[in-house]
């Protein structure tokens, strides 16, 4: 099924080496949410990670994106061992290279769609005009320009998720981490979100790492990894 992309070396953008993640539950119990996972994310691919609820998908995504640190093993992100990157520097790397799309959208409810899209750029040294231009062009790309002054709660779930995608793209990331993006949407809205992600991947060469339990989404992926009870069972 893997399909060659234009001008892509297919080099590894992220490598997970025998990665495990433990959580403490209660006082003494330790849950191993990810067990000795070996995998990689290739530059430019659309990778789907699928598995039932509770199998550790979100945990794996957090590890791959550097939002969380593994208990054992290591993650090489764009050539850097994530455990070596200081806590203050990681946000800057995320700001430069990563975008996130969440199952529950996680937009700031008190501000407008446009402001939400702008928000990742607020701490940067771009000037206000550049930020606004970027936001407007992204809202255009997700076909929501006429809704730019609406607040999240005045929009449908599908629209909110498109705003969230526009926000994830504000910093022109190399890689997009997407956690169950259609979980809160009906199939029609879900389809448009997936098509948008596919388009970004194909036309703008954004690497996409998608985690889901939904088999229907697999058709959009170049490659699928199956996760079962914290273990990668098939890739």
């Amino acid at each position: 099924m893997p399909r060659e992309k234009r001008n892509r070396s297919g080099r590894d953008l992220i490598i997970a080496e025998r990665v495990s993640k433990d959580y403490k539950r209660g006082r003494a119990e330790i849950v191993r949410a990810i067990k000795e996972a070996d995998m990689e994310v290739k530059d430019g691919e659309f990778l789907a990670i699928i598995g039932p609820s509770g199998c550790g998908k979100t945990t794996l995504l957090n590890l791959l994106s550097g939002l969380d640190q593994p208990t054992e093993g290591r993650i090489i992100f764009d050539g850097m061992d994530t455990s070596m990157i200081g806590e203050e520097r990681f946000p800057l790397i995320r700001r430069e290279k990563c975008g996130f799309v969440f199952q529950t959208f996680n937009l700031i409810e008190t501000i407008t769609a446009q402001e939400n899209v702008e928000s990742p750029l607020w701490p940067t040294d771009l000037n206000d005009r550049e930020i606004t231009e970027q936001a407007i062009s992204l809202l255009k790309a997700v076909d929501l320009l006429e809704r730019k002054d609406h607040k999240p709660l005045e929009m449908s779930g599908g629209e909110q998720q498109r705003v969230a995608i526009a926000r994830a793209l504000a910093n022109t990331p190399k890689i997009l981490f997407v956690d169950e993006p259609t979980g809160n949407l009906d199939s029609e809205a879900g389809k448009s979100i997936m098509e948008l992600l596919k388009k970004l991947n194909e036309e703008h060469e954004v690497t996409v790492v998608l985690v889901t339990h939904n088999q229907d989404l697999l058709k959009y992926a170049d490659r699928v990894i199956k996760l079962q009870d914290g273990r990668i069972t098939e890739s």
């Binding site: 995504l61 969380d68 806590e87 946000p91 996680n106 701490p123």
Partner: protein, 410 residues
């Protein structure tokens, strides 16, 4: 990163103003606190200003105008300044000018002692400001100055009435030379207990002597003249000690007040004074204890509410904060975002509290010096200061929110 940080503060204020209900609640809470802080700072300041006479002074007022001569009062001042527990003695002298049957009394006061002159202290200034240096004069609001003139040509005599106001100049001719004063303020006439038609004016002590010396130059026996034109209105004896700490330490300042009163009652002074006026120890002590409670509540309450606010902001906005971190905000960026909201709420609260206090004072008629620059500045600094634990708390809490939480919202 300066541009980004400034923008973050701007945006955090924007975000805060959009969460209208939350902001309103906290602005009101802050307003109440700020009001208490302002009021308590005002009261604290009052111990050395508007409350100086009430709280730690003994006043010896002349039994009548023009009865106590300069010499008598000067000797009494010396005697009183050696009494134990006396911080300073402020004699209030005036010179009379007569014309058209009415009297103009010109008082001299050191601007630094202005709070000892109960009748014409700065908070009864109705327009303009208090005198600060030589050449400046205060007059009563509706002063009608009567000047007698004799016109040599034609031999007629007549009277000129003038009603000087703020900014006018008044020329006082003592003997040969004239001295010109600028009216920098007027005071409420009701404060002065004198025959109607008599006018009061206030200049600095040095200016009073300039006027006087000029008057005197033409006379041989200056001492006699001084004693016939310069009189003492009252002597204010300020007791030593801090009103604030006295409440804690058993009331030493009020013990001093009582010691001074006892001295004046058992010693024969040269001038004829009414019995000493002062506030009883218990009354003052109760008032100060009430003030101290207000201050404590304001400070502790302020710190508590600010911390609570910081706690709640980071709690309400937990997912938001985790999300911001996930999309590339550093801890400092996130903290800046919460800072703006706290800052906005506290500044808006401060202004609202100030307005509230103005209304409260208007209704109760209580005189507290709150609208002085120092009081307001101090109060604002304190309001900012009691936020420090809140800032630290919010910083700690935002630090602790892991960005991974953004992905776990179900």
């Amino acid at each position: 990163m300066v541009l980004g940080t400034v923008r973050l503060i701007r945006k955090s204020i924007l975000v805060a103003t959009r969460a209208r209900k939350r902001l309103a609640v906290f602005v009101i809470v802050y307003a109440i606190l700020a009001g208490m802080v302002i009021l308590s700072i005002g009261r604290l300041a009052g111990y050395n200003t508007t409350g100086l006479v009430d709280q730690r002074s003994v006043v010896l007022e002349a039994t009548d105008f023009d009865t106590i001569t300069y010499n008598q009062a000067k000797n009494d001042t010396t005697t009183l300044s050696h009494v134990e527990g006396v911080d300073r003695v402020v004699p209030l002298y005036y010179v009379n000018f007569e014309g058209g049957g009415d009297i103009i009394r010109i008082f001299g006061i050191e601007p630094s002692n202005r709070w000892a002159f109960e009748e014409i202290k700065p908070d009864v200034i109705s327009s303009g400001r208090y005198i600060e240096r030589g050449g400046e004069i205060l007059i009563s609001e509706n002063a009608n100055l009567t000047t007698l003139f004799e016109e040599s040509v034609g031999g007629r005599t007549g009277t000129i009435f003038t009603k000087p106001g703020l900014g006018d100049t008044i020329t006082i001719a003592g003997g040969e030379e004239t001295k010109t004063f600028k009216v920098v303020g007027t005071f409420e006439e009701g404060q002065v207990d004198d025959d109607p038609g008599n006018t009061w004016m206030v200049v600095t002590v040095d200016d009073l002597w300039l006027i006087l010396n000029d008057l005197l130059r033409v006379y041989e026996d200056q001492t006699a003249v001084i004693n016939s034109v310069l009189f003492c209105y009252k002597i204010v004896i300020v007791a030593e000690g801090s009103v604030f700490w006295s409440a804690v330490r058993g009331g030493d300042v009020w013990n001093n007040v009582e010691g001074i009163v006892e001295f004046t009652e058992t010693t024969t002074l040269q001038g004829n004074y009414n019995s000493p006026e002062y506030t009883k120890k218990a009354d003052n002590q109760n008032a100060v204890i009430a003030d101290m409670m207000l201050i404590t509540v304001a400070f502790l309450g302020g710190a508590l509410v600010a911390s609570m606010y910081a706690f709640l902001i980071t709690r309400f906005r937990r997912i938001e904060i985790a999300t911001l971190k996930a999309i590339g905000y550093t801890n400092r960026n996130v903290w800046t975002m919460t800072l703006g909201e706290i800052l906005l709420a506290s500044i808006a609260g401060f202004i609202l509290g100030l307005l509230g206090i103005a209304v409260y004072l208007g209704v109760t008629g209580e005189t507290v010096v709150i609208f002085s620059r120092t009081t307001l500045l101090t109060a604002f600094l304190i309001v900012v200061l009691i936020q420090v634990p809140a800032f630290i708390l919010s910083n700690k809490r935002t630090l602790r929110i892991p960005p991974a939480e953004a992905l776990r919202t179900l």
